[in-house]
């Protein structure tokens, strides 16, 4: 990882690039810095904190935020007194680990790489755009970025929201949407896609802080098109956040308040006073977009974002250079994370030949056998962490106290236990003192357990013979003013850890081999893309398609919003799949049965019809679920009853045909027909784009066609906003309707009638169009049965649930199962392609590795004690326990490779037959007993 660096030039060709970098000096030796923070405390110079949007003061020597990677401080040369004026240098002697180095110079570095991934993120909207809202003129007009820092509990105000003008708590807050987005005034015609959702989030957080605060969101369309995002808006409305469809003309200071002038749909101009105004600023193209384009020769689109094609959404115009994240177009975290995985699969295809080369395997000494019969010899190491612990906790006293505990044969203190020399010392001590358990009282096991476990392995001890005590993060740092109590706490925690350590046992390191093959369910664009991506990586897959033909929903579509025809792409894709020697296509196929776990699944696939029906068993290591979805057909608005009422998909096919009257003169489109509160509770994300696509086609065929679109919110997010603008320019009329006043469609004979309330004219309208087109939404393709078979949870709307929305967006909770396409949520084809590539990237990981490592802290069943009740099987959230027959009796068995070590099984087993590695009943009970021991001593003394 190279941070603090500038990308200067790129030479060479795909597979053999040279990237020229300038690495700026950090003035701190990253290997020596322990991120203790002492330097910042002593640095005398103020520095506006860029991470907190300038709302707080930090020092030139600082770290941006506690979780920053690498966890190393740096000096901002622009305000450092030594760098600017050759004075000060207070930090140098303060740093206990001698990490500060003012002699560092900028370093030019050439990197040999095979592929490039561009992920520079997004830029900020220019301040000039914010001026008309009095930003910069009145202190209580803030951007959403600033407001985010203000509301954050770990931010500069600890989450307390105050007006900058006079420090009062605002009682009335306005959010103004689309600042710098959908705004031709600043040449940003596109929608930034994320602002509606973050405004709702910030509004909800504000309400949590102060339920009395009055919040109004001024918007044009609420674009909560993501998976389950509409629910957030409904929740916001339910707790009293007001949504006003309006265009805000300006904001002017008004005494201690701010006066908003806005106009509503019905043409009224209204004034409103608020204490604070939050500008929901959009996502601009990155500030150095043009520089990146110059260096890499990639094409940018007309908004200076990276240009990509619908069917190759992550590919730049240059081979070997791919893109991920907001540079490809404004997007939220889940989509950015998905794109990054997709980009990784494309890049690793370029690098395939080099895979595994240059790998260095570390050798460890043979492990010392530790058995129950051996004398327990515990070594306790108490860390000072410079002065981070020792300035509060009396470390010598804690160490000495540990020395008096049962089984402790050695104790000492370290200045920094994690430093290289201390590590060597610990290794030597383990050998010299014949230690067979190690307790380290220092910082958090969440950050440092792996490091110390590595030390144990180097010393020939099983890494599980280790227990860590957190006397920094959870003691000295949080009880800074109570040194005696903190010392007592440290002693107690060490006693509890020593007591537990006496009972810990070495745990075997397990690895399970992986069958290098994937089972892909669904032969639509998602399944085919995943199969081809895996084939590009060199892996076999079985592609199972339910119908008689691969292609999925793309078979029903004719062209894309960008104007590409789907037929050509589909043909290329299906041909590639059929020709690939690595893909085994099974049509008319269904998954009949599956068993196993990550790396070792076995599935029975039924295929063929009638007499040709057959069953075949496949062994495979991973499963990609791409079972798709289909158009919802609501029994509403005369669909299926009148020939003049069609869906957008039907209209698309009609428009691609040759019928003379395929684009009639009068058309009414109804958005959200059956969605967002009718049959379906959610937004299907694609329907607005689908409507625009058809509208532009109609206007191409018959420019005189009069089109009226009845909608709730037009959700042409991202660059699709251009199509919405074009439709309006071509004279299409867009009229919003309220949810309690949906349009009504009736038919009589061949006539169809639409009655609706025109919110612009404020009157009832009745008309008889030639055609009514419904935007009907998408439903998942039978996820019920599959969810039971694979133990995959589904959402309330029947779509498969990902393991984590942001962190693991294409993985299922069950290891080795990946989700992509419409089975996950409704989405347009480019997002499906990215998701399929991302799923392939994740699925390829165990396949490339060839084995699955099992963390030794998993559960294990003592089958003698097991009575076969099956409680554990029903409770395990990961499908990691199965029942098996042993001597005709039902017994539980842990599938170690799937176990996440949560211990729910162990705590619910009525016969205590289940044990958790590293957290056994015995160990935890001893730890609890040791908690009480002190109490007993005190009672005796008293």
């Amino acid at each position: 990882m190279v941070t603090n660096a500038d990308f200067l030039a790129l030479e060479g060709k795909p597979g053999n690039f040279t990237a020229k970098l300038n690495i700026r000096p950090r003035y701190i030796d990253a290997d020596a810095c322990t991120a203790c923070g002492l330097c910042t405390q002593y640095c005398p110079k103020h520095h506006s904190d860029p991470y907190n949007e300038g709302l707080a003061i930090t020092r030139p020597i600082h770290i941006d935020y506690a979780q920053a990677v690498p966890a190393t401080y740096y000096i901002d040369p622009s305000s450092c007194m030594h760098i600017q004026h050759d004075t000060c240098q207070i930090c140098v002697p303060v740093c206990q680990s001698h990490a500060i180095n003012f002699n560092q110079k900028p370093e030019a570095r050439d990197l040999k790489v095979g592929a490039v991934i561009l992920s520079p993120g997004f830029g900020k909207i220019a301040p000039e755009t914010l001026e008309k809202f009095s930003y910069g003129k009145h202190p209580d007009v803030v951007t959403s970025y600033e407001y985010e820092r203000m509301t954050t509990a770990s931010g500069p105000f600890l989450g307390e929201i105050k007006c900058f003008s006079d420090g009062r708590h605002p009682k009335s807050i306005a959010f103004i949407q689309c600042v710098g987005s959908r705004d031709l005034g600043c040449d940003n015609g596109y929608c930034s896609s994320v602002c509606c959702m973050y405004a709702i989030k910030e509004a909800l957080v504000t309400k949590e802080h102060d339920p009395e605060v009055d919040i109004t969101v001024y918007y044009m369309d609420i674009r909560t098109q993501g998976k389950d995002f509409d629910a957030a808006r409904e929740r916001a409305e339910a707790i009293g956040i007001k949504f006003v469809r309006a265009k805000v003309a300006d904001v002017t200071p008004w005494d201690n308040h701010l006066k908003l002038t806005y106009s509503t749909l019905d043409g009224q101009h209204i004034f409103a006073a608020h204490d604070m105004v939050v500008l929901s600023v959009g996502l601009e193209s990155p500030k150095d977009a043009n520089k990146i384009a110059d260096i890499t020769k990639i094409d940018l689109n007309h908004y200076d974002f990276c240009k990509t094609e619908t069917f190759a959404p992550l590919q730049t115009s240059q081979e070997g250079i791919v893109v991920a994240g907001a540079f490809q177009g404004p997007k939220d975290i889940p989509e950015s994370v998905t794109q990054s995985s997709g980009a990784a699969v494309l890049a690793s295809t370029v690098l395939k030949k080099q895979r595994g080369k240059g790998t260095i395997s570390k050798e460890y000494p043979d492990e010392l056998a530790v058995t129950d019969d051996d004398e327990v010899r515990i070594g306790v190491f108490v860390c000072h962490c410079g002065i981070n612990i020792s300035s509060v906790v009396d470390c010598p006293e804690v160490a000495e106290n540990a020395g008096g505990m049962e089984n402790v044969t050695y104790y000492t203190e370290n200045l920094y236990s994690c430093s290289q020399d201390a590590q060597e010392q610990i290794k030597k001590t383990i050998k010299d003192q014949k230690l067979n358990r190690v307790v380290i009282a220092a910082c958090s096991p969440r950050t440092h357990e792996p490091l110390f476990q590595e030390t144990l392995k180097d010393a020939g001890l099983n890494r599980n013979l280790f227990e860590m005590v957190n006397i920094r993060d959870q003691c000295s740092w949080v009880h800074a003013n109570e040194p005696e109590a903190a010392t007592e706490k440290s002693k107690d925690l060490v006693r509890m850890a020593v007591s537990k350590a006496a009972h810990i046992q070495p745990l075997p390191e397990q690895t399970v081999p992986v069958t290098p093959k994937a089972l892909i369910l669904g032969g639509g664009v998602a399944g085919m893309t995943a199969a081809l991506s895996l084939a590009d990586q060199g892996f076999q897959s079985v592609l199972v398609e339910k119908s008689s033909k691969i292609g999925g929903n793309l078979l029903n579509l004719k062209n894309t919003l960008a104007g590409d025809t789907t037929a050509g792409y589909l043909k290329t894709l299906t041909t590639k799949v059929k020709k690939s020697s690595k893909i085994d296509v099974v049509t008319d196929g269904t998954l009949a049965q599956t068993s196993g776990f990550i790396g070792n699944f076995s599935s029975v696939i039924e295929s063929g019809k009638g007499k040709k029906k057959k069953e075949q068993t496949y062994d495979h290591g991973v499963i990609v679920v791409a079972t798709g979805g289909h158009e919802h057909r609501p029994d509403l608005y005369q669909l299926g009853k009148s020939k003049k009422v069609v869906t957008q998909q039907e209209l698309e096919i009609k428009l691609a045909g040759r019928a003379k009257n395929r684009a009639p003169n009068s058309i009414v489109m109804i958005q959200c027909a059956g969605s967002r509160g009718e049959d379906l509770n959610y937004c299907s994300k694609v329907c607005c784009n689908h409507a625009m696509k058809n509208i532009l086609k109609i206007k191409e065929i018959n420019p005189d066609s009069q089109i009226i679109v009845l909608y709730r919110d037009i959700r042409t997010y991202g660059f699709a906003e251009d199509a919405y603008l074009e439709a309006r320019k071509k004279g299409v009329i867009f009229i919003p309707y309220e949810v309690d006043r949906r349009p009504v469609v009736t038919s009589k004979g061949s006539k169809v009638q639409v009655d609706f309330f025109d919110t612009i004219m404020q009157e009832e309208v009745s008309m008889n169009p030639d055609l009514v087109t419904l935007s009907v939404g998408i439903v998942p393709q039978g996820t019920d049965e599959l969810s039971k078979m694979l133990k995959l949870p589904v959402t309330a709307n029947g779509f498969f649930l990902e393991a984590h929305v942001k962190l693991r967006p294409v993985e299922a909770a069950v290891d080795g199962v990946y989700i992509c396409g419409l089975a996950h949520a409704p989405k347009p084809v480019e997002e499906t392609i990215v998701q399929a590539q991302a799923a392939a990237a994740k699925a390829a990981m165990p396949l490339v590795k060839g084995y699955v490592t099992v963390d030794p802290i998993v559960s294990s069943v003592e089958q003698d004690k097991c009575i076969g009740c099956g409680i554990c099987v029903s409770l395990c959230p990961y499908g990691a326990i199965q029942m098996e027959k042993v001597d005709k009796k039902r017994k539980a068995k842990t599938i170690s490779a799937s176990c996440k070590a949560c211990g729910i099984c162990a705590s619910h087993c009525p016969t205590f037959a289940i044990s958790m590695g590293g957290f056994t009943n015995e160990q935890l009970t001893c730890q609890i007993e040791a908690f009480g021991n002190k109490k007993a001593e005190e009672t005796v003394e008293a």
């Binding site: 958090s444 950050t447 959870q474 949080v478 800074a480 802290i857 609890i928 908690f931 009480g932 007993a936």
Partner: protein
Amino acid sequence: MSDNSFSPKILGFLCNWCCYAAADAAGVSRFQYPPNLRTVRVMCTGRVDPSFVLKGFLEGADAIFTGG
């Protein structure tokens, strides 16, 4: 406040992934809280057998805290 010398001993079971992480974050942010808590780290509060809670009381805890 009346003179209250009662200083409870609290035993806490903290989930490694959320509450334990949050307790670490409180430290990083230097939030101060009373030093009455002694913690046992578990990989998930699902691991907390009801008997652990009873055992804690038996060993003299005035309160049991579970964070997960």
